[in-house]
Amino acid sequence: MKAFNKNTFREISKTKNRFFSILLICAIGVGFFSGVRATCDDMKTTADNFFDRNSLFDLRVLSSFGLTENDEKALLDIEGVDGVFASKYTDLSLHSGEHEYLTRVYSAQSGEINNIDIVSGRNIENEGECLLSASFVKESIAGIGSKITLEDLTDADEFPLSRKEYTVVGLYNTPMFISITQKGSTNIGDGSLDAFMIVDEADFTQDVYTEIYVKSEKLKNAKSYSDEYKELRDKLSEKLEKLGEKRAPIRTEEVLGEAKQELADGEAELEEAKTEGQKELDDAKAELENGKKEIEDGEKELNDAKKTLDDGKAQLEDAEKQIADAKKELDDGKKQLEDGKKLLDESKKELDEAQAEIDEKRAQLNEGKTALAEGKASLDEGLMQYNVAVEQLDRIEQALVYAEERFGKEAMADSRAQFEEQKKTLLDSKAQLDEGFAEYEVQQKALADGEKAIAEGQKQIDEGYEKYNEGLIEYNVSLRMLEFSEKQYNDGYETFVKQKAEYEKGVKEYEDGVKELSEAKKKYEDGLKEYEDGVITFNNEIADAEKKIADAKEKIADAGNAEWYIFSRDDNVGYSEYESNAERINKISTIFPIFFLLVAGLVCLTTMSRMVEEQRTQIGTMKALGYSNGKIVMHYMVYAVSGALIGGIGGAFFGCVLFPWVIMYAYSMMYNITDFVFLFDPANIILSVGSMTLAIAVTVYFSCRKALEESPASLMRPKAPKAGKRILLEKIPFIWNNMNFFAKISGRNLFRYKRRMFMTVVGIAGCTALSLTGFGLKDSISDIVDLQYKNIYKYSGYLAYDEDTDDIQSIYDDLLKYNPDTKYTRALIKQYETKFDKNTLQCYVTAVEDADIFESFVDIHERVSKEKTSIKDGAVITEKAAKLLGAKVGDEIALSLGGTKTQSVKISGITEQYTSHYLYLNEELYTEIFGELPKYNIVYFDNGITGGDSEKTDKFSEIMLKNKNVLAVMMNAASLSSIKETLSIMDLVTMVLIVSAGALALVVLYNLSNVNITERIREIATLKVLGFYDAEVSSYVFRENIVLSVMGGVVGLVLGYFLCMFVITTAEIDELMFGREIHWISYIWAFLVTLGFSLLVNLIMTKTLKKISMVESLKSVE
């Protein structure tokens, strides 16, 4: 061996620690990189082997009209088809005990394709036996020996099997359905299959096959999931399609020919019946019309008669009135006449009386005249006497006045008084005389008046007599006239009586006519009703017949022409899901391991730079001795690269087993794929080892380059230790002055070796980031359950019921029976294929009857902003679904049930959701989109059962399942625990991450500390010489380490957050959305893990420090 090489190998044995740390770090980096990278291929190869071993079909042919043995033969004739197997299946509901499941029932499977593997029990031997898929039994109670009942959920007339009850005799696995959780869709029930079973083919009532499986040797040789496989498969598929184009019309003819003929006959028959019926109806109608006219005429006549009668009646009434009037007039006339007569008689009497009176008065007057004349005579006498008396008195007075003048007045007083008295008496008699004369004048006048009055009265009486005589004549004339009128009246009365009798006869006749008419009318109406009924019946019958024909037509049209559908394995749920899972691991394998690789490379760079620096003198010597730069670089290359190679290759082989094993083991809980394969793909190993080695070679080159540029002489001089510098912190006296002496030193040291500081921080940050990713991944996965079932789902569970029932009330009653406070609302859940852009996704469309209650059950809100959205405002889609579809609010997505019919829905909200995909619609919107009211099939309820209280749940389920309309009861508590179980798989993967990150952290820190110590070995030795205790020396060194670890840790937490978010979004499976939050405790854990490893490394390093020999260390410079 040449001295040069010897030197290299001796170098390795001398610096075992360094070499080993390079080796180890490469091993971990490469191991993780290659291991995770290999996993995808290993998974696919394991699956490929499993599929080949179990002869999984390559292509599957379905036809809308079923397939026949001839089709089978034709398929086998295709070049490249090496095996065919025809099978029948039907989707039914399976009852086991109280439970109900959706199952796909297959006819017995052949041994050539889709090999089933009976894992326990035995194959079908007798009638009425069946096999059940093993993965189903894991989660239910229908074990071997149990009896199950099948039920058809469609409205087909005929049950597809010849029997309904089976006994389970064995459990099987089939390569067709590798997924334990996902079993595919069906068009019955809630659309998602729970189980598979196999029964004897003879039990199927249909005689055509449902599907034919095709197998090809060429494809078997190609690797499943590979591009080669896909290409070959597509070619074969094309051939099959071509055959389909030929075979399908033949089948169409077989099935549809007969149906079409029948249809034509039916149509003709209908046409005939139609015309005949119509004619009959028309005749009846004409007859009715006639009747109606007659009735109308009669009615008119009757009305005329009525009018005539009414007129007659009025006339009669008038006549009667006239007669009565005439009679009254007659009577009045008579009475008047009589009264007149009486008056006449009376006035005669009066006249006579008045004559008598006048005569008497005349006599009286004459007497008065005589008396008056006598009175006049007496008066004339009295006047004469008076005149005498006055003369006498005047003489006396003369005497007296004499006397008085003579004798005095007193002496004559008496005679005066006497005279006065006589004068007075004379005056009185004069007044009496005047009176008498006045009275005489009055009476004279009265007598003249009386005479005049009598003359007048006589005149009047005379006139009265004259009048009386005239009246008498008038009376006699009137009497004659009255007699005439009486006769006339009697004649008129007679006529009236006659007319009246005639009128009464007319009335009677009219009434008979009316009665007759109403009878005719009634008859007519009956006839009309009969006619109308006839029309309705006729129309209904025709419509029925037409509908039947239209249905038949549609059926034929719908059936269209038989068409072949060619499916590949990609259409198999488990098969394609497994591929995407493998691809997901592949995705993780791009960023994650590169991180490892980078950290490893960085650490190696630090190590090698240090090494080169340490060996300046040696390099100088070599150079001085005439070795070329290349040769010198070679020395370090060989050192580092051999470490990288040994470590890398070892790590690659180890990693290629460890990581795929852990991941496949984890996935084996979800897929029935056994016998793991570990591939040591040279390309992968060369790539991972090569990239690591190359990275290291480059670092070595760069480490050496600087040294090699110097002259041998300068190299051989010891490189002055890096000068000390004041650090920024010193400019802040407040802090600096308060730091203790050693803290100051550490502070300055930290910043002295900036590169090492950077490397250490990056290295530690990387490790912290990786472990935070591990913890964060664990958080986000375990969060799903709580987020989903505590923050979003707030109801107790839901029950599925027979959607055709009209007795939903009984279910409500039962719900309230358990708890009267139960809140509930109905919904329709159906799995649809949603499409947006080019993305397709299976999504549960949920139409809700009462949006308010539903929103109190399911908290509908946007995840980040926590903003509530409402399904009352439009369609709301779950977050992951929106993300997978690439749809945003306002986009329109298409819904279909796999057929050609699609509906389009506009997204108006996106809601937080972690399990499954939903599209929530309110009733109105559903109706608008699908053109019919939703056919509700489940009831969401909240009855207070929240946790996994099995006693309450059992009691509740018992009540509900007694209701024959209730198909199944699903409690959220149960779903929660089953999801938790599924997710525990991921714990293993995260553990791998954390442990790997930890291992890396350990190695990185160890290495960096090592570098740190060797770099400063003189300092350390000096301290020792100065009499520092071991603890003081350690703390001098490790104080920095701890500060760096903390810095790295903090940076790593930030970095880790982003790494974790990246990993979460790439690693999560389509069905689930992982939580997006890392718990604060995880940050603490990740930080503590890093710090813990840092302390562990310090502990290890303490020993190394102890061992440092002062003499050796200080001597080295000489």
């Binding site: 000068a723 002295r752 020792k1024 010489v1025 100065l1026 003499v1111 000489e1118």
Partner: protein, 233 residues
């Protein structure tokens, strides 16, 4: 008993199959307050002796005692305490901590002992009062060595051990350093042991111990040591 005494001290290194005697039964004494120079050619074992004396290395056989304490039997812990409290070391390459200023380099030693000379004072004494806040890289070799001496003296050691203190210095500077050491010995009564391959400086010592092939070849006592200033080489 002398202040420093070595008796039949052996130190053996095993390199592969071969055993090398770095100290082959050395015996010598040094009195308190003396400036002793141990002189010998390269690889003669003089540094080994100094290391053993300084508690940096242990002997395989024989007795080493300092100030009456038998340090050859010390365990690790005792040796550390010994170095900490009783020994001052001066190296050819100074071994200052590059990241500390002159003052701090002195302080770091002082920190180990309660009773120490304040760094400013001691630096003043070695003639570096002006530059106490400079980093080693900003100081010349001689200045660095002064810092080194100040560091050693700060904790008032019983014994000052110097390993080729002038080996990396030019003639004049070297002389100044030696003068400093001599002064320290004379003025402070410090016992100084100086290791060198340079026989020319032996006249400055009170006692010269010549070593050859890991053995003491000759011990000379200079009754009248020459002041450093007068020595030429």
């Amino acid at each position: 008993m002398s202040f420093v005494s070595l008796k039949d001290v052996y130190k053996r290194y095993k390199v592969g199959e071969v055993t090398i005697n770095a100290s082959d039964g050395m015996t010598f004494d040094i009195e308190k307050g003396e400036l002793a120079v141990i002189v010998g050619p390269s690889g003669s074992g003089k540094t080994t002796v100094l290391n053993m004396l300084g508690g940096m290395d242990t002997c395989d056989e024989g007795v080493i005692s300092v100030d009456g304490a038998r340090i050859s039997g010390y365990n690790r812990k005792q040796l550390t305490l010994y170095r900490r409290f009783e020994i001052g070391f001066i190296f050819q390459f100074y071994n200052l901590l590059p990241n500390l200023t002159a003052k701090e380099n002195v302080e770091i030693a002082g920190q180990t002992k309660k009773d120490y000379i304040p760094s400013e004072e001691i630096l003043e004494k070695v003639g570096l009062g002006e530059r106490i806040n400079n980093f080693p890289a900003q100081l010349s070799g001689g200045e660095q060595q002064r810092v080194s001496i100040a560091r050693a003296l700060a904790k008032k050691p019983k014994l000052l051990l110097c390993d080729e203190p002038t080996g990396a210095l030019d003639y004049n500077t070297g002389k100044m350093i030696l003068k400093l050491l001599q002064d320290t010995c004379r003025n402070d009564g410090m016992t100084v042991i100086l290791v060198t391959h340079n026989t020319a400086i032996t006249p400055m010592a009170d006692r010269v111990i010549k070593i050859k092939n890991s053995k003491v070849d000759d011990i000379q006592i200079n009754e009248k040591p020459t002041p450093v200033e007068e020595i030429e080489w």
